[in-house]
Symmetry: C2
Subunit: 261 residues, 2 copies
DNA sequence: CGGACAGTTCGGCGGACGCCGTACGAAGGC
DNA sequence: GCCTTCGTACGGCGTCCGCCGAACTGTCCG
């Protein structure tokens, strides 16, 4: 019996203390399910190595698996895990103040698209995510000064303007602040953040770029954001496909929008 | 160059992945400063071993050190670190559903006192902490349904009833929910939680039991809680000294109160 | 039924790391 | 001044663990 096993905190940290396992978890922060092989290639290790790591992560309660035929799909075990990883990553990245500059043009374009708009597990992040949180706050729908919670008007807004139900599921908070690692400010997470992101994807307000977690705001999306929250088409820079994703990257489909968020 | 060093998340997790270092951090969650020797004895390792570990933790930004004469005092680097540790520990402890029963009578008594009232870094926890959060919520001073934030009335209450200023310091939120690992519900953390705890200690409403983090509510304290928040003297069980602390444990000073929280 | 592919299990190798004891420097009490 | 005490630097030892390749199981497809 090793010493770390008796300290739950150390046992949990051990799971994330390995570079390969950490890469897996960070990749899965896009909120989707990857196959074991995809994760192995993503991290640059042999399939056998990945298999063992994934079993550990599943056993440790960080990942959930779903087997379909000869595939083993893996995703984060739930919002709690996603939040934990976000917090940890945010803290770690703050310590290393200077992230290495992207090595290739393509990576740079991908990074730019990510800073504009992306998913953060199951909610919106990047400039877009922060802009939404700010707009909600400016309109008195979200309280950020004294904590982080929806106001009564905010509840009303979700029900009547957005026309969605916020169902309090389990112990997950309705609204939660999530530190955005590019903007270094909070965006909206929790049930409300998830519902908002899902709604935006369903109604075609945002679309995934390529196979990654970067997002692009569509024309109707820009209009909806303007009408619902008064968010103006801001600071637009080009959009690009993402660098990495659960599917093999096909030929680059690089599009360039004009100032679309 | 090891592989984990290139992944900040993994580098941070590595610091906590060792049982001894984890023990150090958990001990320091009492919010006070320990000397290197005290921590070494607490974890049961040689002084030289502890010294190396502590240097790593300081270098990693988790701990702050302060040298006084021949002593090296160590404390958590700040509220952010404390929160991270709390979250991590809460998650880890949930995974291991059944904590081992206390081995000695004295440890059992200490555990009982801890569940009643204790500090959690710099705020109140245990039954007392949750009771305070609940009372604030019941009176409309704290919003817990739609997130976690003080209401306007809550701000007012701190200013006029408690007669303290809540100064928004840095990026620390005014109010934050912290998962209580004994009650499995939220208690009040953030600036408000810290101010409330400090006030309670200053005005003698609560007192530290022995040298640990367990607290005892005093007579005037019970009265103040009743007047300010309508909290009745609840579920009192005996109080006892704590098992571990930064100072060498002297002779046990076991006191037994009658139903004092 | 056989071939291709996804994933797992196993053995073995090599590096990383946590531990200690010892020796040393520095601060404080007598 | 000497001696005790707290903390640090170093060398060595043992273990743990992450990696791979090879062999095997199971699934899908033709």
């Amino acid at each position: 019996m090793t010493a770390t096993a008796q300290i739950p905190l150390a046992a949990l940290a051990s799971l994330l203390a390995d570079g390969t396992r950490a890469r897996f978890c960070l990749a899965l922060l896009d909120g989707r399910a990857w196959t074991a092989g995809e994760l192995a290639r993503h991290a640059g290790v042999a399939a056998s190595t990945a298999s063992e790591h994934l079993s550990l992560l599943v056993q440790g309660g960080l990942l959930a698996e779903e087997r379909q035929g000869r595939h083993r799909y893996l995703r984060l075990a739930g919002p709690r895990v996603a939040q934990l990883l976000e917090d940890l990553a945010a803290h770690a990245d703050l310590a290393v103040s200077a992230p290495p500059p992207p090595a290739t043009l393509r990576a740079a374009a991908s990074a730019r698209a990510m800073t504009e708009a992306r998913t953060c597990y199951d909610h919106l992040a990047g400039r877009l995510g922060v802009a939404v949180a700010d707009a909600l706050t400016a309109r008195g729908l979200l309280l950020q000064d004294t904590g982080f919670a929806l106001s009564d008007a905010g509840l009303e807004w979700f029900a009547t303007r957005l026309e969605v139900r916020l169902t309090p599921s389990g112990r997950r908070p309705l609204a939660r602040g999530c530190l955005d690692w590019t903007e270094r400010r909070h965006h909206l997470a929790g049930v409300a953040g998830a519902v908002l992101c899902a709604t935006a994807l369903e109604r075609g307000w945002v679309r995934r770029i390529g196979s990654g977690r970067a997002l692009r705001v569509t024309g109707p999306g820009a209009q909806a954001l303007q009408e619902l929250l008064g968010i103006e088409n801001s600071t637009g820079s080009g959009t690009a496909d993402s660098a990495e994703g659960p599917t093999e990257d096909g030929p680059a489909v690089r599009s360039r929008g004009d100032g679309i968020f």
